[in-house]
């Protein structure tokens, strides 16, 4: 009897499967994505003088000083002298030195003919050496790409490790040529991230940096990445590092951004409850005070725009839309900063979406009043 039932079931099976399949094809054909509705908040943002996504600069977090842009443009055309002059004149302002080296290093990772000319014209120039080291590390990260390990090919990893290994020598040379400069050691953090330095070696590197520049924003940013769970640390280590750094730093040093970044990097929730706790409100308030102090003393300081981007984001999530809009207006036009930059090509549109929602919420509140 059971045998007969089996055979009946077998006869029914093809029919059922065919029916399901045809239904699936039908449904797939029927549906096509509906075009997005025109957005009122985008128009409102435009009326406030805020820029649409296609006009946002996705290479910088804030407008670079004119002298930097000029030096970069000249280097791009093969003239290295303005770049050399820029670094020489900057002297011992380590925050800015790291930022300039990062800009020039990015260019050197694309093409380095100008840098080779600089190196052969002035052998032993510590400024050229630091740009060389930074350029090789950026080249390594370009080879790797920004995807997670499982989506990164063996070829990419091999190029990444080859370049990082090559960079270690260049870093050592740059450090030797300018012993006071923390920049080579900061560059090395990104090598340690990629090659997986053990924690003890990272601690040694960190001591080299803090003895030269105790509150360097870029150094803290890089070290926090190292201690994040997705790289070589854990959620606990990242939070401990961020809180210690923020607690010790004087007002205006911008390191109040670190606990916000640590929270952002390890936030796996999809609602906003975790972003509006009393602790988070306090962290954002501390960030606002820090940013205000920095703006009063040194409004162009590297890192200020990054802090403001984070503040705008969390103020928005905390429904403090007025304050969020104030931060958005201060940074609008340049969006290469957390939390947007992790969206890759979608960074500008993500930024604009959150900003426009803020604008809409502010308007709704004004209309209600």
């Amino acid at each position: 009897m059971t045998v007969l039932l089996w055979i009946l079931a077998v006869l029914a099976l093809p029919l059922v499967i065919a029916a399901i399949w045809f239904t699936g094809v039908f449904v797939k054909e029927l549906f096509s994505p509906s075009p997005p509705a025109p957005d009122a908040t985008a128009l409102a943002a435009e009326r406030l003088g805020l820029l649409p996504a296609e006009r946002q600069d996705t290479e910088h977090a804030a407008p670079p000083p004119a002298a930097w842009s000029a030096a970069l443009a000249a280097a791009r055309d093969g003239d290295w002298e303005p770049a050399a002059e820029l670094l020489r004149a900057n002297g011992r302002d380590w925050e800015r030195r790291s930022s300039i080296a990062a800009e020039l290093g990015t260019l050197a990772a694309e093409e380095d003919g100008w840098l080779l000319a600089w190196e052969s014209a002035r052998p032993g120039d510590p400024d050229a050496a630091v740009v060389r080291a930074q350029g090789t590390v950026y080249l390594a990260w370009e080879l790797r790409g920004a995807k997670q390990a499982q989506y990164t090919s063996r070829e990419q990893f091999e190029g990444f490790h080859r370049m990082l290994t090559a960079a270690r020598e260049e870093i050592a040379r740059a450090a030797e040529l300018n012993p006071e400069d923390p920049t080579p050691y900061i560059v090395e953090i990104w090598v340690g991230l990629g090659l997986g330095y053990p924690g003890a070696e990272m601690d040694k590197l960190w001591a080299e940096i803090t003895s030269r520049a105790p509150y360097h924003f870029g150094a803290h940013y890089a070290a926090l990445q190292y201690w994040c769970a997705k790289w070589r640390g854990s959620k606990q280590q990242a939070f401990a590092f961020a809180e210690r750094a923020a607690g010790r730093a004087p007002l205006g040093s911008l390191l109040t951004a670190l606990p916000l970044i640590a929270h952002f990097e390890h936030d796996e929730t999809t609602d906003v409850a975790a972003d509006s706790t009393p602790e988070m409100l306090a962290l954002v308030d501390a960030g606002l005070a820090d940013a205000a102090a920095c703006a009063a003393s040194d409004p162009d300081r590297p890192g200020l725009a990054q802090l403001r981007h984070l503040l705008a984001y969390y103020l928005h999530l905390q429904d403090r839309h007025e304050a969020a809009l104030e931060q958005f207006r201060l940074v609008d036009g340049h969006v290469d900063a957390l939390p947007w930059s992790y969206r890759g090509d979608g960074a500008a549109s993500y930024y604009c979406r959150v900003r426009n929602e803020t604008v809409g919420a502010v308007q709704a509140a004004a209309d209600a009043a």
Binding site: W6, A18, W21, E110
Partner: protein
């Protein structure tokens, strides 16, 4: 359930397979009729075409009603007069298992042992029995382990299950094949398969197999749907038959453990997957090494070298024995996972027979060397047997490497030939590099998507390893053409190249040719290439007389 009832159920299930196929064919015909009546234009023709494509595997599956036969491959039949000790062993184990000894023994070139019986009248009457015994298996097993293998095979006969389960096996093999056919087509594997076969064809002839003909029609979803229909039936079928089949395997294992000893049986189960993998590796990397150069190893060594490989890699094999496959080889395989079989054998109480018959199984043959040589004649194709014989393994390696290098076609060869329109030579390449054309040439290499999307230094760093490998091959080919290269043969590791000027074995006196070569290659492939160092390494080209 009794044996007869089991056979009956198998018969009904097998008929169900035919019924399913007929229903599917009827459905396809129905679709065609409907289309011709109500449809019009090219769509009807297309639909008709698709239904015919789908019908092909169904019809094929219906006519494939034969259990795979003769897959033990070619070999040498040995009589009792040829191999008295082997026959005695075979008879003794058969008697211990309580079953009839085989009527024929055939020695084959595979890592496999099988006893087949061609039953008559749908398995109701016994037929002649054959034992297929792979010589590589004899090479790798001890005599006790050989007894275990034989005892396991006989164990299948003691319950009469081979005759009665023939139908079950038949149905299972058939369903598996039809499903595989549909999946192969659906995955568009055909083109890849063909390319793979072409590459492997040289080795295939050596193993005495005929190259399979591959059907290249195929298109996705509908095939997958058909495979799913058969897959559902197969699940039903497997549920009905598999537990019995696996139970039979476990029972045969118990028989083998009783006859050959618990430890010998457990060791055999661990050994066979290792031998099987090692033999594949041996065939690919050693035995067929010289086929590209139309060379064979010395007579008797085509199968004889396997023993040397096993001896040289004893430590490596020991590690492999620890890692047992946890999954069955395929969902339609009647054998339970090896790990489970080993676990059940090792759970038996110790019988104190661990040290029995530890001599190599190959020694039961009267004259192993003669058998190994005769096996080559039986297994290799006539074409391959016509190839030259190397004087020894190192000579075979040298000849095959020289031949491989002289005919090597690296990506760089192809890019260069496309650019210059001439056959690619190292001299032509160095000229292009000196003229500043290296990085333009690199753009014509087959590169990954990431590399193609890259610009500037990132592109060059992606291309450099590809260039490096190709250029190195070209330079080695140049050395080889001037007879400046030798190779170190090893049973335990990959062949190592010995560059000109490198002292044999230890070469650390003064400058190391390997480092010099690498530095010269790096300089020739730098952002601003310099070929001077590489040119200095190359001997002056022979002047035409």
């Amino acid at each position: 359930m009794g044996a007869t009832l089991r056979a009956l159920r198998a018969l009904v299930l097998l008929l169900g397979f035919y019924l399913l196929s007929l229903v599917l064919l009827a459905a396809l015909v129905g679709v065609d009729i409907a289309a011709f009546r109500w449809g019009h234009g090219p769509a009807v023709a297309k639909l008709g075409f698709v239904t015919v494509l789908l019908a092909i595997p169904v019809v094929r599956g219906m006519f494939m009603l034969r259990t795979p036969k003769g897959e033990a491959g070619p070999g040498i039949d040995v009589t009792e007069a040829d191999e008295p000790r082997l026959w005695a062993l075979v008879r003794e184990v058969a008697a211990a298992a309580g079953t009839r000894a085989p009527d024929r023994i055939r020695l084959t070139g595979e890592v496999n042992a099988a006893v087949s019986e061609d039953p008559r009248l749908l398995g109701l009457l016994p037929g002649p029995r054959r034992l297929y015994l792979g010589v590589p298996l004899l090479t790798g097993l001890t005599q006790a382990q050989l007894r275990a293998v034989l005892a396991h095979e006989y164990g299948h006969f003691t319950g009469g299950d081979t005759r009665l389960s023939a139908l079950v096996v038949r149905g299972r093999v058939q369903l598996g094949r039809v499903i595989e056919q549909f999946h192969e087509r659906a995955d568009g594997k055909v083109a890849a398969e063909r390319a793979k076969q072409e590459r492997a064809s040289a080795k295939r002839v050596a193993k005495g197999r005929k190259a399979k003909k591959v059907d290249t029609s195929g298109s996705g979803v509908s095939y997958r749907m058909m495979a799913a229909i058969y897959g559902q039936y197969a699940k039903l079928y497997l549920r009905a038959s598999l537990s019995t089949a696996r139970g039979q395997e476990f029972a045969a294992d118990q028989v083998a453990a009783r006859i050959a000893g618990r430890d010998a049986m457990a060791a055999t189960l661990r050994e066979i997957p290792v031998l099987s993998a090692s033999h594949d590796f041996y065939l690919d990397s050693y035995a067929t090494l010289g086929l590209g150069a139309r060379m064979l190893p010395p007579r008797g060594e085509f199968f004889g070298g396997f023993g040397k490989l096993l001896a040289a890699r004893a430590q490596e094999l020991e590690d492999l024995r620890g890692q047992l496959p946890q999954e069955p080889a395929s969902p339609y395989d009647s054998h339970p996972p090896i790990a489970e079989r080993v676990r059940r054998i090792e759970a038996l109480p110790a019988d104190g027979r661990a040290d029995e018959a530890t001599g190599p199984a190959l020694a039961v043959l009267t004259d192993p060397a003669r058998t190994l040589a005769a096996l080559e004649d039986a297994v290799l194709t006539d074409e391959v047997l016509g190839y030259g014989r190397a004087a020894g393994w190192p000579e075979l390696l040298d000849a095959s490497m020289a031949s491989g290098l002289s005919s090597a076609q690296t990506p760089l060869h192809r890019a260069l030939a496309a650019r210059t329109g001439q056959p690619a030579t190292l001299a032509a390449l160095l000229e292009v590099v000196d003229a500043g054309g290296l990085w333009q040439l690199a753009e014509q290499l087959p590169l990954s998507a990431e590399a193609k999307a890259a610009r500037g230094r990132v592109f060059r760093e992606f291309a450099r390893p590809v260039l490096h490998r190709s250029l190195r091959t070209m330079v080695l080919a140049e050395f080889s053409a001037r007879s400046l290269l030798t190779w170190d043969f090893s049973w335990s590791g990959p062949a190592a190249v010995r560059l000109p000027g490198e002292a044999p074995a230890t070469g650390a006196d003064g400058r190391n040719p390997e480092e010099v070569l690498e530095a010269a290659l790096d300089a020739a492939l730098a952002d601003h290439p310099d070929t001077a160092a590489l040119r200095a390494l190359l001997p002056p080209a022979p002047q035409p007389a």
